[in-house]
């Protein structure tokens, strides 16, 4: 600076320059603030609608209001499926902190099973932190009390009240009502996203079939929430529609009687009111305790159910197909009459051996080695004369025969209000090719005529056909739910049923078959005549034996097989014969001949329904006492009927609850057609010799 002369300040010029720069600066400020105001104008005025919507979406969250599930009553108004208040333990991870430590310290006051912990861990990984995860459903009162004391230790852990499903009669209605369980992805896929608010969904039985009616419609509360999702106030409510209550046609007492009538046997039975199609009782044994599933079944219980060879979870009534055996004969006879090929008095000579015309070799037998002699329609039913039906089926031909069988309700579902009912199979060249991978021989028709071979019918289909015979040939849809009401105060409304179908044009034809069935029980040679002893009413029926034959059982000692794979004893019947109010089908697994085991069960059911007399078995031993609400459904409540059966055996030693097989002399003749050459072997009837 020294070498350069100091430039003098020019005050006026500097002031002028400052003014210029200040003016420029102000212009820039003006421009900047105007630009900012313009930008805010765009946000606030031009794009206002968009941001206003997002602001509302921010703060207002719809919260579902879950309605109470509909209740299920029996025909006399007794509660079969109830909701009880229960507590579940919910955890909000964001507030609860370290999950592992939480579990460790919680399990000191609340019993947590490894299953529950594993499930919690899975959900923890998949879920956002601020959503509540259910750690344990159904916390016991004691645990709840313990938790309440220590609650301050567990931020983010909450006891949430909810309604838990309880089946007071345990396994008694397992295969009728089914059960609900925690909803899963599969349920959401099939039931739709509308189910999202629900914690439980029907899995099987009526709970599943009537899921949408039972669960009701969830309502919504519009909740103002802050950024943490905490609800601050309710802005409005769309009330939930409570689930519809169902009233079944099933009768609790008859259901109990039916289970008791089986004693320790396995199998299934169904009783229908032939006048309406209403199902009065329906059991598939062994059963299981549906309460086990409601709040998550333990691995141990699940394994026990799954490894039981008798398959307690398998509903034999609608899923289990068997050959109808001789119980198909009354309907085959009806087909003969309706087709005009037979009159009730037409007679056929039974010689004990039947051969296809023009063929030699082994033939088809009658149950009497020497034959039954001249046989008309009534006798053919009462005495179960095979030859009569061999002949008849050949005269009808397979196509016409199948047409009649389809008309009588076989080969397609009955339409009962349960899920997954099978079609069944009526033997035909097509079905044999499809299921047996073999071509059709004329002898197959002979087998079919007596209900053996490729047949597959459900006990329900048999009961339905029987009901039709009992009610002048009118085929109805069997159904479990008689009425429905939308809310507690609402009136019961009958569930509409499809129109009944008349399967026979001539009442005299049906009457003739009915007479044959009455003679089965009441006639001198009737196959089930021992069940009529002491009955104050008149019954009609038909016995049968279904051979369970396939490659795996072909050469095996039948006694080594599980019961459900041995031959089934069948009985169909109705009572009172003059004006039937109940029709039944009974299938006893491994029961030998129908007359020996199945028919006595039917008699006990008739007794219970018509005279109110309960079977002699001690009802307590079969554990149909209501489950105490509030108690955790534990293995202790005898989930499996197997256990109950054991108890029954212990409680009533001897023959008290044994089927009549041991008390009544086995006069009844087998309805099973035994191939002449293999009278005592379990071989199937040989295919027609060529």
């Amino acid at each position: 600076m020294r070498h350069r002369p100091r430039r003098l300040k020019n005050a006026n010029a500097e002031a002028a320059q400052f003014r210029l720069r200040a003016a420029l600066g102000f212009a820039a400020v003006l421009l900047g603030l105007a630009g900012l105001a313009g930008w805010y104008f765009k946000l606030q005025v031009l794009d206002h609608a968009d941001y206003a919507t997002r602001s509302e979406a921010n703060r207002i969250k719809p919260r579902p209001v879950v309605p109470g599930r509909g209740l299920i009553y029996d025909r006399k108004g007794r509660l079969l499926a109830d909701n009880v208040p229960a507590y579940r333990l919910d955890v909000v991870l964001d507030e609860a902190g370290d999950g592992k430590r939480l579990i460790a310290s919680l399990s000191r006051i609340i019993a947590l099973s490894p299953d529950e912990i594993a499930r919690f861990e899975d959900e923890r990984k998949a879920s956002r932190g601020f959503r509540a995860i259910t750690l344990k459903l159904r916390v016991s009162d004691e645990e709840a009390a313990r938790f309440a004391v220590d609650r301050w230790r567990y931020p983010g852990v909450e006891l949430v009240p909810y309604l838990s499903r309880v089946y007071p009669y345990g396994d008694l209605f397992a295969h009728v009502i089914g059960y609900v369980a925690r909803i899963d992805q599969k349920d959401l896929d099939t039931l739709g996203q509308a189910s999202t608010p629900f914690t439980h969904a029907g899995k099987t039985g009526l709970e599943r079939y009537y899921e949408s009616a039972l669960r009701g419609e969830p309502g919504f509360q519009r909740i103002e929430t802050n950024v943490d999702g905490r609800a601050l106030r309710t802005l409005g409510t769309v009330p939930a529609t409570p689930g519809a209550d169902l009233r079944l046609s099933v009768d609790l007492d008859l259901q109990r009687a039916m289970v008791a009538a089986f004693g320790e046997l396995e199998g299934s039975a169904v009783a229908i009111d032939p006048r309406t199609g209403e199902i009065l009782a329906m059991v598939s044994l062994p059963a299981y305790d549906p309460n086990l599933f409601v709040n998550g079944i333990s691995h141990a219980d699940f394994d026990r159910l799954n490894t039981n060879p008798s398959r307690p979870q398998f509903n034999r009534l609608v899923l289990g197909g068997v050959a109808p055996g001789s119980t198909i004969k009354p309907l085959t006879a009806l087909a003969g009459l309706d087709s005009g090929l037979r009159t009730p008095s037409d007679r056929v000579l039974s010689t004990g051996m039947f051969r296809l015309p023009g063929m030699r070799g082994r033939g088809w037998g009658d149950s009497h080695r020497g034959g039954h002699g001249w046989t008309d329609l009534r006798k053919s039913i009462a005495d179960s004369v095979n030859t009569y039906y061999y002949r008849l089926a050949l005269d009808l031909g397979v196509e016409r025969y199948d047409r009649y069988m389809a008309k009588y309700g076989f080969g397609h579902p009955t339409g009962i209000d349960l899920m997954g009912e099978i079609d069944g199979i009526v033997p035909s060249p097509e079905s044999k090719l499809k299921y047996g991978k073999e071509r059709w021989y004329p002898g197959d028709l002979v087998n079919s005529a007596i209900g053996q071979g490729l047949w597959k019918v459900t006990p329900l289909q048999l009961a339905r056909g029987t009901a039709a015979l009992a009610d002048q040939g009118i085929l109805r849809r069997p159904h479990l739910v008689a009425a429905q009401r939308n809310g507690f105060g609402a009136p019961w409304q009958a569930v509409p049923q499809p129109a009944a179908v008349r399967i026979s044009d001539d009442p005299r034809h049906v009457r003739a078959v009915q007479e044959g069935m009455e003679m089965t029980v009441n006639g001198p040679g009737g196959t089930a005549r021992m069940i009529a002893i002491g009955a104050p009413y008149r019954m009609a029926g038909k016995t049968g034996t279904a051979q369970v034959v396939n490659r795996s059982t072909y050469a095996v000692d039948p006694k080594s097989l599980p019961m459900h794979r041995r031959h089934r004893a069948l009985f169909i019947g109705y009572a009172p014969a003059e004006a039937p109010t109940i029709a039944v089908a009974v299938a006893v697994e491994g029961g030998g001949y129908g007359a020996a085991t199945a028919a006595p069960i039917a008699r006990k059911v008739f007794d219970a329904w018509l005279t109110g007399k309960m079977p002699e078995a001690d009802p307590d031993a079969i554990d149909v006492s209501p489950v105490v609400p509030g108690a955790t459904p534990a293995p202790a409540t005898t989930a499996l009927r197997r256990d109950a059966g054991d108890a029954a055996r212990r409680a009533t030693p001897g023959a008290a609850n044994r089927p009549a097989a041991s008390t009544a002399p086995p006069i009844a003749t087998a309805a099973s057609p035994l191939a002449a050459g293999a009278a005592s072997s379990p071989r199937p009837p040989a295919p027609a010799p060529r």
Partner: protein, 368 residues
Amino acid sequence: MNPILRWLLDLLARFTRTLDPWLCAALAGLMLVGLAVLYSAGNESRGLVLAQGARYGLGCAAMWALSRTSPLRLRNASPLVFAASLLPLVLVLFIGTGRHGQHWINLGVFYFQPSEVLKLSLPMMLAWYLNRQPLPPRLLTVLAAAGMIALPFGLILLQPDFGTGMLVAASGVFALFLAGLSWWWFVAAVGGVAAAAPAAWFWMLRPYQKDRILTFLDPETDPLGTGWNIIQSKIAIGAGGMTGKGWGQGTQSHLDYLPEHTTDFIFAVLSEEFGWVGVAVVLGLYLFVIGRCLWIASEARDGFSRLLAGTLGLSMFVYVIVNGGMISGLLPVVGVPMPLLSYGGTYSVALLAGLGMVMAVRPQKHGR
């Protein structure tokens, strides 16, 4: 007229003689709006309003005191004030506290933010220095001034506090601009920043600062993370509409969707509750305050006064444009408060004190 009344009025006039009525009116308006919005944003908390009111009181006292100081004294004190203000700035690096660095010194009674003082002392220093040099500034002058700016700027960046550092540096640049800095410097500066930006990105910026910039570029990429603030703030502003949801009715702030709604994002609360009308009124008040400062500067009699008042006035613009732009997604998120609206002590007092200095250089009308 009643002599006592006359005497009282006379006394009042004597006390308020140095205050600029126009500026005072505009500032009072801003402070009232600020307290009203704060009351709503703080969930109707009276304590928050009282605390902020006390700070305004303190700031107004400082403003009043400084307005009575003669420009000559201010000028003479400038180098000393500047040197003294650098001391706590160094100190804060060692004993400071803060969320993202060492920003505050705990004085027991309150937290003191040394960098705020630089917003006053640096303009003073530059005005003092530039006034001694012939203007427009020569190269050497500019370099010396740049050194004076760089020293506190560097210290503040070390804390690190980019927002305040930028405000301080901006005030220095305004001083040079008003002093008549050649336009070539601005051209060169823009080029230099463009060249330095990549380097700054890779070596200088902290991860949280990079996050802010990335989020600014596209807030929707991380709607629940760093983008949340901007998205929620824009929702609050946009939901306000033309006339707003009404005082105390802003859901974004009351339900905590809007972050930092009493400090950096308070203008979004104002936007939500008072709409564009409220925004325009407040921006108009700011424009008036800045314009008035520049007017006073232009009327001032000496170079120091001109430069000081002009620089302080323009500095306010940076606050407004950076804060207003940041919360509406125009600019990256930088921790800059909205003058006299955002809750905060040191900056409010510093701001009002600065305006006091502006009033001090106002040419006094003689007589009464």
